[in-house]
Subunit: 222 residues, 2 copies
DNA sequence: AAAAACTATATTGTATACAATATATATTAT
DNA sequence: ATAATATATATTGTATACAATATAGTTTTT
């Protein structure tokens, strides 16, 4: 595997994204360019460029002269995000299943096995969300819709924070395991309608769990 | 109306976006940072930041160490983009019509009148796309889905290039006028299903016209 | 004391200068 | 002559320095 030399901007993007997704950088808290630059041993230029890119991903809000901060979604926004995902990913899956390869399905099966075994272990949240994203992307690989796939991945990066938080604090998406297996079964038998329905239900049920968790936490803080 | 002082980066974003949408900057042609900086009387820093923002909008592709260029959509990508729009905007309209205000509908009627009268005049492409976007946003205003609305606007910025090109070179989206009127009528009578169907058909028919135009132009160049 | 005006400070925005990388040209080896 | 290597040039990436703006604190005014 060739080592890819990245620009400092790219490195900063990756580090900051991970910190936001993992919750190390708390939403709402201001992101001072100078402080980040010193911490990461770069100048403010790559930090600024990284913040702009993260803003495009929806993870950061950047106000001129005021500064940047990690974005925080309220309950309504979580609702909107997951419903958008359900619609777009449902459509993408339908398009994909028409001519998905057996190879892609086999790969999805492999990833699913890893996913299940990852759940109990340490550092579960990080590996889980990576594998989860790989699993879904595998199922969408037949669609041949690069722009839609990019969009789905951006939306997922946003949802990822909440999924991870839920995994860490509440012990995980309880129904995700069996739902993934059922989804994959419908894909393998090419039952498109059932697969799409299962996928949507899967996304919306994780939405419900996350909303319930957020609501509960909100009450504790008030 | 208060004068808003903008950063140089914001100004450069607006100027470059307009140049790309209007076709002054041809797709594929490299965007040299130094040249743009000199032309716009700024340093390369705001130019770089502007290019990054435009990349997030999908108007520019930015490769590390290689440079930036305006993106060019091929036929498949046009297809994908417009189908994505049809799905998302259809859903958004359905949600909006449930509790859209009479005020918003009245405003849409006003904009539609301006749209029709703008078609013949000079500078039609610029004002048309602005009014067109305002008209659609008006119809979606009842949905109260800020994230989806943002997304729709980004997708529209991308589609806009093709719509403008088509307006300029081929005399316009021939069916847009009557389609808009029919769409508005269904919205006013709150016939949600018919309105959504009309909207989707409207978006997809503009896709067809644009694809036909692109195909024709491709044959001329080969 | 409350509001307004004026500092001082912190922070962001941008120009300049230099470093790193890629591309084009020239040189050498086969 | 062609391919490979080396050099020069163009272009991008990033650090530093300075300018502009916003914020916090202070003083002045009412």
């Amino acid at each position: 595997m060739a080592i890819e030399y990245k620009t400092r901007t790219q490195l900063v993007v990756e580090i900051l994204r991970e910190k936001i997704l993992s919750g190390e950088i708390v939403a709402g808290q201001p992101l001072r360019q100078a402080a980040l630059a010193e911490e990461l041993n770069v100048s403010r230029i790559p930090v600024r460029e990284a913040l702009l890119q993260l803003e495009a991903e929806g993870l950061v809000s950047f106000e001129p002269h005021k500064g940047a901060s990690a974005t925080e979604l309220n309950l309504d926004q979580v609702d909107e995000l997951f419903e958008l995902r359900a619609m777009i990913e449902g459509d993408l899956l339908a398009a994909s299943l028409v001519d998905i390869t057996d190879e892609a399905l086999a790969q999805a099966t492999e990833i699913l096995a890893k996913l299940d075994s990852a759940l109990g272990k340490e550092n579960a949240a990080n590996t889980w969300s990576e594998l989860n994203s790989a699993f879904h992307n595998c199922l969408y690989s037949g669609a041949n819709r690069p722009q839609t796939t990019d969009l789905v991945n951006i939306l997922n990066k946003n949802a990822d924070r909440y999924i991870r938080m839920h995994l860490l604090w509440a012990g995980g998406i309880s129904k995700a395991g069996p739902e993934h297996a059922e989804l994959l079964a419908f894909c393998q038998s090419r039952e498109i309608d059932k697969a799409v329905a299962k996928l949507k239900q899967h996304i919306l049920s994780s939405r419900d769990e996350i909303k319930a968790f957020l609501q509960q936490r909100e009450q504790l803080n008030s």
